[in-house]
Protein backbone atom coordinates (compact mmCIF):
# COMPACT_ATOMS: atom_id res chain seq x y z
CA UNK A 1 0.00 0.00 0.00
CA UNK A 2 1.34 3.43 -0.93
CA UNK A 3 1.59 6.35 1.43
CA UNK A 4 -1.54 7.85 -0.07
CA UNK A 5 -3.43 4.66 0.52
CA UNK A 6 -2.25 4.52 4.12
CA UNK A 7 -3.31 8.11 4.70
CA UNK A 8 -6.69 7.45 3.16
CA UNK A 9 -7.06 4.40 5.35
CA UNK A 10 -6.10 6.40 8.43
CA UNK A 11 -8.59 9.09 7.51
CA UNK A 12 -11.36 6.54 7.18
CA UNK A 13 -10.47 5.11 10.58
CA UNK A 14 -10.40 8.57 12.18
CA UNK A 15 -13.72 9.56 10.64
CA UNK A 16 -15.28 6.25 11.61
CA UNK A 17 -13.93 6.57 15.14
CA UNK A 18 -15.21 10.15 15.29
CA UNK A 19 -18.60 9.09 14.07
CA UNK A 20 -18.68 6.20 16.52
CA UNK A 21 -17.58 8.48 19.36
CA UNK A 22 -20.17 11.05 18.34
CA UNK A 23 -22.81 8.34 18.26
CA UNK A 24 -21.81 7.12 21.71
CA UNK A 25 -21.51 10.62 23.16
CA UNK A 26 -24.91 11.63 21.83
CA UNK A 27 -26.61 8.58 23.34
CA UNK A 28 -29.34 9.37 25.88
CA UNK A 29 -28.12 8.97 29.47
CA UNK A 30 -30.71 7.77 31.97
CA UNK A 31 -30.78 8.14 35.74
CA UNK A 32 -28.24 6.00 37.57
CA UNK A 33 -29.26 2.95 39.60
CA UNK A 34 -28.70 4.71 42.91
CA UNK A 35 -31.12 7.56 42.07
CA UNK A 36 -33.67 5.11 40.72
CA UNK A 37 -33.43 3.01 43.86
CA UNK A 38 -34.06 6.11 45.96
CA UNK A 39 -37.17 7.02 43.96
CA UNK A 40 -40.14 6.35 46.26
CA UNK A 41 -43.83 6.90 45.44
CA UNK A 42 -44.73 10.53 46.00
CA UNK A 43 -47.56 12.50 47.58
CA UNK A 44 -50.12 14.16 45.31
CA UNK A 45 -50.90 16.91 47.83
CA UNK A 46 -47.30 18.05 47.94
CA UNK A 47 -47.03 17.58 44.20
CA UNK A 48 -49.57 20.30 43.49
CA UNK A 49 -47.14 22.87 44.85
CA UNK A 50 -44.43 21.56 42.53
CA UNK A 51 -46.89 21.65 39.63
CA UNK A 52 -47.49 25.34 40.29
CA UNK A 53 -43.84 26.15 40.94
CA UNK A 54 -42.92 24.43 37.68
CA UNK A 55 -45.55 26.25 35.66
CA UNK A 56 -46.47 23.05 33.79
CA UNK A 57 -49.89 24.43 32.83
CA UNK A 58 -48.45 27.55 31.19
CA UNK A 59 -47.18 25.54 28.20
CA UNK A 60 -49.06 22.25 28.39
CA UNK A 61 -52.61 23.55 29.00
CA UNK A 62 -54.49 25.60 26.42
CA UNK A 63 -53.36 29.21 26.03
CA UNK A 64 -54.87 31.50 28.70
CA UNK A 65 -56.59 28.53 30.38
CA UNK A 66 -58.26 29.35 33.70
CA UNK A 67 -59.50 27.21 36.57
CA UNK A 68 -60.10 23.54 35.81
CA UNK A 69 -58.93 24.02 32.22
CA UNK A 70 -55.40 24.57 33.59
CA UNK A 71 -55.37 20.91 34.53
CA UNK A 72 -56.14 19.66 31.02
CA UNK A 73 -52.60 19.18 29.78
CA UNK A 74 -53.14 18.37 26.11
CA UNK A 75 -50.20 20.57 25.04
CA UNK A 76 -49.99 22.69 21.96
CA UNK A 77 -48.99 26.20 23.13
CA UNK A 78 -46.31 26.81 20.52
CA UNK A 79 -42.93 28.29 21.38
CA UNK A 80 -41.54 30.08 18.33
CA UNK A 81 -37.75 30.30 18.64
CA UNK A 82 -34.83 30.93 16.26
CA UNK A 83 -34.34 27.13 16.13
CA UNK A 84 -37.87 26.57 14.93
CA UNK A 85 -41.29 26.02 16.46
CA UNK A 86 -41.48 23.78 19.51
CA UNK A 87 -44.89 22.31 20.30
CA UNK A 88 -45.36 21.14 23.90
CA UNK A 89 -46.74 17.58 23.85
CA UNK A 90 -49.80 16.15 25.55
CA UNK A 91 -48.75 15.31 29.12
CA UNK A 92 -52.24 14.46 30.33
CA UNK A 93 -53.03 11.03 31.75
CA UNK A 94 -54.26 9.73 28.39
CA UNK A 95 -52.42 6.41 27.95
CA UNK A 96 -52.12 6.71 24.18
CA UNK A 97 -51.71 10.43 23.46
CA UNK A 98 -50.40 11.59 26.85
CA UNK A 99 -48.15 10.15 29.54
CA UNK A 100 -50.75 8.02 31.32
CA UNK A 101 -48.72 4.88 30.61
CA UNK A 102 -45.46 6.28 31.97
CA UNK A 103 -43.96 4.81 35.12
CA UNK A 104 -42.44 7.02 37.81
CA UNK A 105 -39.02 6.04 36.44
CA UNK A 106 -40.05 7.13 32.95
CA UNK A 107 -41.25 10.45 34.33
CA UNK A 108 -38.11 11.03 36.41
CA UNK A 109 -35.88 10.26 33.40
CA UNK A 110 -37.75 12.87 31.36
CA UNK A 111 -37.67 15.51 34.11
CA UNK A 112 -34.12 15.02 35.34
CA UNK A 113 -32.31 13.64 32.28
CA UNK A 114 -34.36 14.79 29.30
CA UNK A 115 -34.85 11.23 28.07
CA UNK A 116 -38.17 9.84 26.84
CA UNK A 117 -39.35 6.34 27.75
CA UNK A 118 -38.41 5.12 24.27
CA UNK A 119 -34.88 6.45 24.78
CA UNK A 120 -35.03 9.61 22.69
CA UNK A 121 -33.35 12.84 23.74
CA UNK A 122 -35.97 15.48 24.54
CA UNK A 123 -35.43 19.04 23.35
CA UNK A 124 -34.48 21.48 26.10
CA UNK A 125 -37.41 23.72 25.14
CA UNK A 126 -38.86 21.45 27.82
CA UNK A 127 -36.84 23.09 30.61
CA UNK A 128 -35.22 19.93 32.01
CA UNK A 129 -31.83 21.69 32.21
CA UNK A 130 -33.49 23.44 35.18
CA UNK A 131 -35.60 20.50 36.35
CA UNK A 132 -32.36 18.46 36.50
CA UNK A 133 -31.64 20.39 39.71
CA UNK A 134 -34.84 19.13 41.35
CA UNK A 135 -34.99 16.69 44.23
CA UNK A 136 -36.13 13.27 43.00
CA UNK A 137 -38.67 13.27 45.86
CA UNK A 138 -40.27 16.43 44.42
CA UNK A 139 -40.39 14.78 41.00
CA UNK A 140 -42.14 11.80 42.61
CA UNK A 141 -44.65 14.12 44.30
CA UNK A 142 -45.31 15.87 41.00
CA UNK A 143 -45.84 12.50 39.31
CA UNK A 144 -48.36 11.56 42.00
CA UNK A 145 -50.22 14.85 41.53
CA UNK A 146 -50.30 14.53 37.75
CA UNK A 147 -51.80 11.04 38.16
CA UNK A 148 -54.86 12.79 39.65
CA UNK A 149 -55.35 14.99 36.56
CA UNK A 150 -57.72 14.20 33.69
CA UNK A 151 -56.83 12.23 30.58
CA UNK A 152 -57.25 14.33 27.45
CA UNK A 153 -57.07 12.61 24.09
CA UNK A 154 -55.40 14.06 21.02
CA UNK A 155 -51.74 14.34 20.13
CA UNK A 156 -50.20 17.80 19.84
CA UNK A 157 -48.63 18.50 16.43
CA UNK A 158 -44.92 17.77 15.89
CA UNK A 159 -42.17 20.35 16.36
CA UNK A 160 -41.20 22.24 13.21
CA UNK A 161 -37.45 22.70 13.52
CA UNK A 162 -34.81 23.73 11.03
CA UNK A 163 -31.75 21.60 10.24
CA UNK A 164 -29.53 20.67 12.09
CA UNK A 165 -31.67 21.21 15.17
CA UNK A 166 -34.16 18.74 13.75
CA UNK A 167 -31.72 15.92 14.61
CA UNK A 168 -32.74 14.74 18.06
CA UNK A 169 -29.60 12.73 18.56
CA UNK A 170 -27.55 15.94 18.51
CA UNK A 171 -29.24 17.02 21.72
CA UNK A 172 -27.25 14.26 23.42
CA UNK A 173 -24.01 16.11 22.74
CA UNK A 174 -25.57 19.34 23.97
CA UNK A 175 -26.61 17.61 27.18
CA UNK A 176 -23.04 16.34 27.74
CA UNK A 177 -21.91 19.95 27.70
CA UNK A 178 -24.69 21.59 29.64
CA UNK A 179 -26.89 19.22 31.64
CA UNK A 180 -25.99 19.35 35.30
CA UNK A 181 -27.76 18.90 38.61
CA UNK A 182 -25.38 21.37 40.28
CA UNK A 183 -26.74 24.74 41.47
CA UNK A 184 -25.79 27.79 39.39
CA UNK A 185 -25.20 30.28 42.20
CA UNK A 186 -22.76 29.11 44.85
CA UNK A 187 -23.88 30.00 48.33
CA UNK A 188 -21.88 30.07 51.54
CA UNK A 189 -22.36 27.09 53.84
CA UNK A 190 -24.04 29.40 56.36
CA UNK A 191 -26.34 31.07 53.80
CA UNK A 192 -29.81 31.83 55.24
CA UNK A 193 -32.32 29.01 54.81
CA UNK A 194 -34.72 31.15 52.78
CA UNK A 195 -32.00 32.02 50.25
CA UNK A 196 -31.15 28.34 49.83
CA UNK A 197 -34.84 27.46 49.48
CA UNK A 198 -35.25 30.27 46.95
CA UNK A 199 -32.27 29.06 44.95
CA UNK A 200 -33.89 25.67 44.66
CA UNK A 201 -37.23 27.11 43.52
CA UNK A 202 -35.71 29.57 41.04
CA UNK A 203 -32.97 27.37 39.57
CA UNK A 204 -34.92 24.12 39.72
CA UNK A 205 -38.69 23.79 39.31
CA UNK A 206 -39.34 27.51 38.71
CA UNK A 207 -36.86 27.47 35.78
CA UNK A 208 -36.71 31.28 35.86
CA UNK A 209 -33.28 31.27 34.23
CA UNK A 210 -34.62 29.72 31.04
CA UNK A 211 -36.14 33.06 29.99
CA UNK A 212 -34.30 35.56 32.21
CA UNK A 213 -30.77 34.49 31.20
CA UNK A 214 -29.18 35.17 27.80
CA UNK A 215 -28.26 32.17 25.66
CA UNK A 216 -25.16 31.42 23.64
CA UNK A 217 -25.25 30.53 19.93
CA UNK A 218 -26.10 26.91 20.72
CA UNK A 219 -28.97 27.76 23.02
CA UNK A 220 -27.24 27.19 26.36
CA UNK A 221 -27.90 29.69 29.14
CA UNK A 222 -24.82 31.84 29.86
CA UNK A 223 -24.11 31.20 33.54
CA UNK A 224 -21.87 34.29 33.80
CA UNK A 225 -24.95 36.40 33.07
CA UNK A 226 -27.34 34.40 35.21
CA UNK A 227 -30.78 36.12 35.40
CA UNK A 228 -29.37 39.27 33.72
CA UNK A 229 -32.33 39.43 31.33
CA UNK A 230 -32.34 38.44 27.69
CA UNK A 231 -33.78 39.08 24.29
CA UNK A 232 -37.12 37.27 24.32
CA UNK A 233 -37.19 33.94 22.48
CA UNK A 234 -40.45 35.02 20.89
CA UNK A 235 -41.36 38.40 19.42
CA UNK A 236 -39.14 41.46 19.50
CA UNK A 237 -39.18 42.30 23.19
CA UNK A 238 -36.89 41.53 26.09
CA UNK A 239 -37.15 39.59 29.32
CA UNK A 240 -36.04 41.84 32.19
CA UNK A 241 -32.89 41.71 34.27
CA UNK A 242 -33.87 40.34 37.70
CA UNK A 243 -30.45 40.62 39.34
CA UNK A 244 -29.56 43.61 41.56
CA UNK A 245 -27.23 44.85 38.76
CA UNK A 246 -27.68 47.96 36.62
CA UNK A 247 -31.02 47.86 34.84
CA UNK A 248 -32.18 45.13 37.20
CA UNK A 249 -34.39 45.13 40.26
CA UNK A 250 -31.85 46.16 42.91
CA UNK A 251 -34.20 48.92 44.04
CA UNK A 252 -36.99 46.42 44.75
CA UNK A 253 -37.13 45.21 48.34
CA UNK A 254 -37.61 41.52 49.06
CA UNK A 255 -41.16 42.48 50.03
CA UNK A 256 -41.66 44.19 46.66
CA UNK A 257 -40.59 41.03 44.82
CA UNK A 258 -42.82 38.76 46.91
CA UNK A 259 -45.74 41.16 46.50
CA UNK A 260 -45.22 41.30 42.72
CA UNK A 261 -45.28 37.50 42.52
CA UNK A 262 -48.48 37.45 44.58
CA UNK A 263 -50.44 40.35 43.05
CA UNK A 264 -48.80 41.14 39.72
CA UNK A 265 -48.17 44.77 40.70
CA UNK A 266 -44.67 46.25 40.48
CA UNK A 267 -43.50 48.66 43.20
CA UNK A 268 -44.60 51.62 41.03
CA UNK A 269 -47.95 49.94 40.33
CA UNK A 270 -47.36 48.95 36.80
CA UNK A 271 -48.70 45.44 36.21
CA UNK A 272 -47.21 42.17 35.12
CA UNK A 273 -47.28 41.63 31.34
CA UNK A 274 -46.29 39.32 28.52
CA UNK A 275 -45.33 35.72 29.22
CA UNK A 276 -44.82 36.59 32.90
CA UNK A 277 -48.60 36.88 33.34
CA UNK A 278 -48.96 33.09 33.29
CA UNK A 279 -45.92 32.68 35.53
CA UNK A 280 -47.23 35.15 38.09
CA UNK A 281 -50.59 33.35 38.21
CA UNK A 282 -48.70 30.19 39.15
CA UNK A 283 -46.52 31.98 41.69
CA UNK A 284 -49.63 33.42 43.33
CA UNK A 285 -50.77 29.85 44.05
CA UNK A 286 -47.61 29.00 46.04
CA UNK A 287 -47.38 29.25 49.82
CA UNK A 288 -46.28 32.75 50.91
CA UNK A 289 -42.99 31.40 52.26
CA UNK A 290 -42.05 30.17 48.79
CA UNK A 291 -42.51 33.64 47.31
CA UNK A 292 -40.50 35.09 50.20
CA UNK A 293 -37.74 32.54 49.54
CA UNK A 294 -37.62 33.42 45.83
CA UNK A 295 -37.36 37.09 46.80
CA UNK A 296 -34.56 36.38 49.29
CA UNK A 297 -32.60 34.49 46.63
CA UNK A 298 -33.08 37.23 44.02
CA UNK A 299 -31.70 39.76 46.50
CA UNK A 300 -28.66 37.49 46.98
CA UNK A 301 -27.72 36.61 43.38
CA UNK A 302 -24.61 38.21 41.81
CA UNK A 303 -25.48 41.54 40.15
CA UNK A 304 -25.11 41.76 36.35
CA UNK A 305 -25.81 44.57 33.89
CA UNK A 306 -28.60 43.92 31.40
CA UNK A 307 -28.10 40.77 29.35
CA UNK A 308 -29.77 42.33 26.31
CA UNK A 309 -28.66 45.20 24.05
CA UNK A 310 -29.97 48.71 24.80
CA UNK A 311 -32.81 49.94 22.65
CA UNK A 312 -31.82 51.80 19.51
CA UNK A 313 -32.25 55.55 20.03
CA UNK A 314 -33.75 57.67 18.73
CA UNK A 315 -36.38 55.30 17.50
CA UNK A 316 -38.88 57.63 15.82
CA UNK A 317 -40.65 56.13 12.82
CA UNK A 318 -38.17 53.42 11.86
Amino acid sequence: MGLLGKLAGAAVVVIAAGAAAGWLLSAPVRLDAETLAGLKPGDAGRGERIFNAGGCASCHAAAKAEGEARLKLAGGVELKTPFGVFVPPNISQDAKDGIGAWSLEDFANAMLKGVSPSGENLYPAFPYPSYARMKPSDVADLYAFMKTLPAVSGKAPDNRLSFPFSIRRGVGLWKRLYLSAAPVVELAADAPADVVAGRYLVEGPGHCGECHTPRSFDGATVKGQWLAGAVAAEGDGIVPNITPGEGGIGDWSAGDIASYLETGFTPDFDSVGGAMVEVQKNMALLPAEDRAAIAAYLKAVPPHPDGYPPRKQPGKAE
Binding site: K64, G235, P240, G264, F269, V272, V277, P309, K316
Partner: protein, 146 residues
Amino acid sequence: MRKLILAISVLALGSAAASADPIADRQAYMKERGKIVGGLAKMVKGEQSFEAAGVQDALKQLEANAEKFDAEAMFPAGSEQGGDTTAAPKIWEDMPGFNAAEDKYLAAVKAAVAAPAADVDALKAQMGALGAACAACHQTYRIKKG
Protein backbone atom coordinates in the same frame (compact mmCIF):
# COMPACT_ATOMS: atom_id res chain seq x y z
CA MET B 1 -41.69 77.68 -2.03
CA ARG B 2 -43.93 79.72 0.19
CA LYS B 3 -46.83 77.46 -0.68
CA LEU B 4 -44.77 74.42 0.20
CA ILE B 5 -43.89 75.84 3.61
CA LEU B 6 -47.51 76.68 4.16
CA ALA B 7 -48.55 73.18 3.21
CA ILE B 8 -46.03 71.68 5.60
CA SER B 9 -47.20 73.95 8.42
CA VAL B 10 -50.80 72.98 7.81
CA LEU B 11 -49.87 69.32 7.89
CA ALA B 12 -47.89 69.79 11.09
CA LEU B 13 -50.76 71.69 12.68
CA GLY B 14 -53.22 69.04 11.59
CA SER B 15 -51.30 66.28 13.34
CA ALA B 16 -50.71 68.52 16.35
CA ALA B 17 -54.46 68.84 16.74
CA ALA B 18 -54.77 65.03 17.02
CA SER B 19 -51.90 64.78 19.46
CA ALA B 20 -48.40 66.18 19.39
CA ASP B 21 -46.95 63.09 20.97
CA PRO B 22 -49.38 60.20 21.38
CA ILE B 23 -46.70 58.01 22.91
CA ALA B 24 -45.91 60.46 25.72
CA ASP B 25 -49.63 61.12 26.20
CA ARG B 26 -50.64 57.50 26.57
CA GLN B 27 -47.71 56.81 28.88
CA ALA B 28 -48.75 59.69 31.14
CA TYR B 29 -52.30 58.34 31.02
CA MET B 30 -51.21 54.87 32.11
CA LYS B 31 -48.99 56.36 34.84
CA GLU B 32 -52.08 58.14 36.21
CA ARG B 33 -53.78 54.74 36.53
CA GLY B 34 -50.79 53.31 38.33
CA LYS B 35 -50.77 56.20 40.77
CA ILE B 36 -54.42 55.70 41.72
CA VAL B 37 -53.93 51.95 42.08
CA GLY B 38 -50.87 52.68 44.21
CA GLY B 39 -52.99 54.61 46.70
CA LEU B 40 -55.35 51.67 47.06
CA ALA B 41 -52.48 49.20 47.36
CA LYS B 42 -51.06 51.15 50.31
CA MET B 43 -54.22 50.30 52.23
CA VAL B 44 -54.05 46.64 51.23
CA LYS B 45 -50.45 46.44 52.37
CA GLY B 46 -51.26 48.17 55.65
CA GLU B 47 -48.97 51.11 54.89
CA GLN B 48 -52.05 53.31 55.20
CA SER B 49 -55.07 52.64 57.37
CA PHE B 50 -58.23 51.51 55.58
CA GLU B 51 -60.62 54.32 54.93
CA ALA B 52 -63.88 53.63 53.06
CA ALA B 53 -64.27 57.20 51.75
CA GLY B 54 -60.74 57.13 50.38
CA VAL B 55 -61.41 53.83 48.60
CA GLN B 56 -64.58 55.19 46.99
CA ASP B 57 -62.78 58.33 45.92
CA ALA B 58 -59.89 56.39 44.39
CA LEU B 59 -62.22 53.99 42.58
CA LYS B 60 -64.15 56.93 41.11
CA GLN B 61 -60.87 58.45 39.92
CA LEU B 62 -60.01 55.13 38.34
CA GLU B 63 -63.39 55.08 36.62
CA ALA B 64 -62.95 58.61 35.29
CA ASN B 65 -59.54 57.65 34.00
CA ALA B 66 -60.81 54.45 32.38
CA GLU B 67 -63.66 56.27 30.63
CA LYS B 68 -61.17 58.60 28.95
CA PHE B 69 -59.64 55.65 27.12
CA ASP B 70 -59.77 56.00 23.34
CA ALA B 71 -57.70 53.41 21.50
CA GLU B 72 -57.86 55.10 18.11
CA ALA B 73 -56.73 58.49 19.47
CA MET B 74 -54.12 57.14 21.86
CA PHE B 75 -52.66 54.53 19.54
CA PRO B 76 -53.01 56.19 16.11
CA ALA B 77 -51.37 54.71 13.02
CA GLY B 78 -47.78 55.92 12.96
CA SER B 79 -47.26 55.62 16.72
CA GLU B 80 -46.32 51.93 16.58
CA GLN B 81 -42.65 52.77 17.06
CA GLY B 82 -40.72 55.57 18.61
CA GLY B 83 -39.76 57.05 21.93
CA ASP B 84 -39.69 54.35 24.55
CA THR B 85 -43.05 52.88 23.65
CA THR B 86 -43.73 49.36 24.84
CA ALA B 87 -46.93 49.01 22.85
CA ALA B 88 -47.02 45.63 21.10
CA PRO B 89 -47.59 45.44 17.31
CA LYS B 90 -50.58 43.27 18.20
CA ILE B 91 -52.52 46.45 19.10
CA TRP B 92 -52.60 47.51 15.46
CA GLU B 93 -53.09 43.97 14.19
CA ASP B 94 -56.12 43.48 16.41
CA MET B 95 -57.71 46.80 17.40
CA PRO B 96 -61.08 45.12 18.23
CA GLY B 97 -59.33 42.69 20.59
CA PHE B 98 -57.43 45.55 22.19
CA ASN B 99 -60.65 47.49 22.71
CA ALA B 100 -62.35 44.41 24.14
CA ALA B 101 -59.55 43.97 26.68
CA GLU B 102 -59.92 47.60 27.70
CA ASP B 103 -63.70 47.16 27.98
CA LYS B 104 -63.12 44.29 30.39
CA TYR B 105 -60.93 46.52 32.50
CA LEU B 106 -63.56 49.28 32.47
CA ALA B 107 -66.20 46.72 33.51
CA ALA B 108 -64.00 45.58 36.40
CA VAL B 109 -63.54 49.18 37.52
CA LYS B 110 -67.28 49.89 37.28
CA ALA B 111 -68.07 46.75 39.27
CA ALA B 112 -65.72 47.98 41.98
CA VAL B 113 -67.29 51.45 41.98
CA ALA B 114 -70.78 49.92 42.26
CA ALA B 115 -69.78 47.92 45.33
CA PRO B 116 -66.72 49.53 46.90
CA ALA B 117 -64.82 47.41 49.40
CA ALA B 118 -65.95 47.85 52.99
CA ASP B 119 -62.84 46.36 54.57
CA VAL B 120 -59.26 45.49 53.78
CA ASP B 121 -59.97 41.88 52.79
CA ALA B 122 -62.67 42.95 50.35
CA LEU B 123 -60.32 45.57 48.94
CA LYS B 124 -57.64 42.95 48.47
CA ALA B 125 -60.06 40.82 46.45
CA GLN B 126 -61.16 43.86 44.45
CA MET B 127 -57.55 44.76 43.68
CA GLY B 128 -56.99 41.17 42.58
CA ALA B 129 -59.78 41.46 40.03
CA LEU B 130 -58.52 44.81 38.77
CA GLY B 131 -54.95 43.52 38.59
CA ALA B 132 -56.10 40.52 36.56
CA ALA B 133 -57.69 42.91 34.04
CA CYS B 134 -54.46 44.94 33.85
CA ALA B 135 -52.43 41.78 33.32
CA ALA B 136 -54.80 40.30 30.74
CA CYS B 137 -54.25 43.31 28.49
CA HIS B 138 -50.52 43.63 29.18
CA GLN B 139 -50.06 39.93 28.44
CA THR B 140 -50.93 40.44 24.78
CA TYR B 141 -50.69 44.13 23.99
CA ARG B 142 -47.47 45.21 25.63
CA ILE B 143 -43.89 44.07 25.18
CA LYS B 144 -40.94 44.81 27.39
CA LYS B 145 -38.14 46.58 25.58
CA GLY B 146 -34.53 47.34 26.47
